[in-house]
Symmetry: C2
Subunit: 411 residues, 2 copies
Amino acid sequence: MEKGFTPIAGGVTAAKGFMAASTAAGIKYSGRQDMAMIYSRIPCRAAGTFTTNIVKAAPVKWDQARIEEGAAAQAVVINAGIANACTGQEGMDYCSQTAEAAAQALGIPKESVLVASTGVIGMQLPMDRIAAGVAAMAPKLEEGLAGGEAASKAIMTTDTKNKEAAVQVEIGGATVTIGGMCKGSGMIHPNMCTMLSFVTTDAAISRDLLLAALREDIKDTYNMISVDGDTSTNDTVLLLANGMAGNAEITEKGPDYEAFCRALRYVNETLSKKIAGDGEGCTALFEVQIRGAATKEQAKVLAKAVITSNLTKAAIFGHDANWGRILCAMGYSGAQFDPEKVDLFFESRAGRMQIIADGVAVDYSEEQATKILSEPEVRAIADIKMGEEEATAWGCDLTFDYVKINADYRS
Amino acid sequence: MEKGFTPIAGGVTAAKGFMAASTAAGIKYSGRQDMAMIYSRIPCRAAGTFTTNIVKAAPVKWDQARIEEGAAAQAVVINAGIANACTGQEGMDYCSQTAEAAAQALGIPKESVLVASTGVIGMQLPMDRIAAGVAAMAPKLEEGLAGGEAASKAIMTTDTKNKEAAVQVEIGGATVTIGGMCKGSGMIHPNMCTMLSFVTTDAAISRDLLLAALREDIKDTYNMISVDGDTSTNDTVLLLANGMAGNAEITEKGPDYEAFCRALRYVNETLSKKIAGDGEGCTALFEVQIRGAATKEQAKVLAKAVITSNLTKAAIFGHDANWGRILCAMGYSGAQFDPEKVDLFFESRAGRMQIIADGVAVDYSEEQATKILSEPEVRAIADIKMGEEEATAWGCDLTFDYVKINADYRS
């Protein structure tokens, strides 16, 4: 592989020593798995990034405290159905009780248990069912891809597909594996949606570099996707490293660290695109690339403005090459550029075509443009001709089903 | 009236000396009026505020130049159907030619003609039809409410209702009238939408104070509405004052200026609410009041975050008291507050009820909440208990029809 890594099958149990299990705990759904557990045979170094919403769910606060105090992590307990957000002290107590239950079942310290929830805001967890679910999962933990896949299905809410990615890379004389799972796909109740992502690796890497790698990476992956512009109270990305690959520990920035970061990027970018492409009600993954920017930040601001524009998203749903909306969204993004220098292209499996040159429409075929935009993955590429920087953002179209899903009464 | 002014019938021709006309110029629509002209018997002082989008339509650039050079204004020519945006030098030339045509037809200087367009981005104006429309309207200009009403209908695009407001206030020994018309209701093509507002007054007021009054007022009116978060390339608010009321000229800030500002606020707030309540595809005007803020800016940021949240807007469409979405939107707004101190109320003609107290849900009736949220005008009131400042923002619900209108192919 040109980039030095190899995508492989699997998810959160792809890396050595990681096990997973799931169960139907009856939190809110019936007849489906709704709890998952991730476990590492040995304690892990842990990095995490969390929602910037100042309304933070209790599990976010619990995990933040564990990550900040530098606790070793060995297990993660996740439930779908109830977000444990806006639940006050009672909600915090439930995080502690969940960790305690897992600690007892697994024979590990309570501080090494991380927790995550997705679902309805404002409702308290049924602690008896959570505890029973933890007790049921502990003996079922297994290595191999099946456990990871089951876990990735148990954390789904309005997601229509489970989401996994994994990769292998040679580092420090050993094969290092990074794998993860995540869920989308909107924000919250009644759709019980939140962005949760869990990535595991058997790499040996210092805690500082693990944190640095994750913090840097999310800027170009999870932070560059949007389904509806609503930042959840529960968003969480956890990265656990147990060192079992046997590589020489990565302790400084250099070729090994860069190789790890490239492989991590692949996993996180793949998972991010899966979230965007499975956004609530959506029919297409919509990718926007800004090229020729003076700064990376400028490119990001422009790309995100386009993928979050309701009008642009509705046009993508209609397979309509409505370039005025894209230029308009770039114009109100807050980034400076010269509209009269912009080139714009649409691209998909069905082809590639230029739509505007130097800010003015070229004589393109609407029919051909519609053909390009009728694919399940479509891309808009804008070159603003100011420099060499670029950025990519991923979103989805705005559809009748998005409205339907989110207007339905809670029940 | 407590506030010292009296709402009256009428719009852009309510104030003394203002005339209007409309015509079916065949710009893009067929079988309907699509051009309007506003004319004052004598030259006016003019103030204007324009889109902050850096992709600015040609008519915006034309008007900005006239307002900045302090030119007296005597006529405004408006067309629906084509936005004259992203049209390069050719588009600028058409503004000049439109002004020239009106100047000749009306016998006034070209520099005293303002222009405005709303409609498709990227298409050139059919200049022959524009010129013919101007020639047809000049002899039809009339005082009285009928001309103003016809003009307010001619500038509609996806608007379902024409939008007018007028008010009278006693200032400096005379009755001053302020009246206006505007249009919404999304952003652009294929819906040919833009926020355009034209307000006229017979008040005698210095140009500096006229500009100051408008600039201050839009912060709490037009800038506090959102239909879809997409800022148009054409947004324009023009305020023309011809001084024919005969009041002692307002030349300094004081009671007369304040009375003028309160009356202007009424007109602009009324027009703003009409735009929000007639947003593309919407079924309800959604008002959000933030109270108890430490600063006005904080209150505004919070109110605007809630009215632009797609998830909250979809819940309003579903008549669903989904308070978690409101708290979530406040949380990611960027404003600081303590989520655990927030009280939230829903209110409409059907009643008022508290939903959360100190950040936690009270034991409210979902049935009663749904009843309150089933009215055509609904209000959410959040008290964040940090101070005495407040702000109000207006939006609308997110519906199937919004998606339908905006996903349809251009035709």
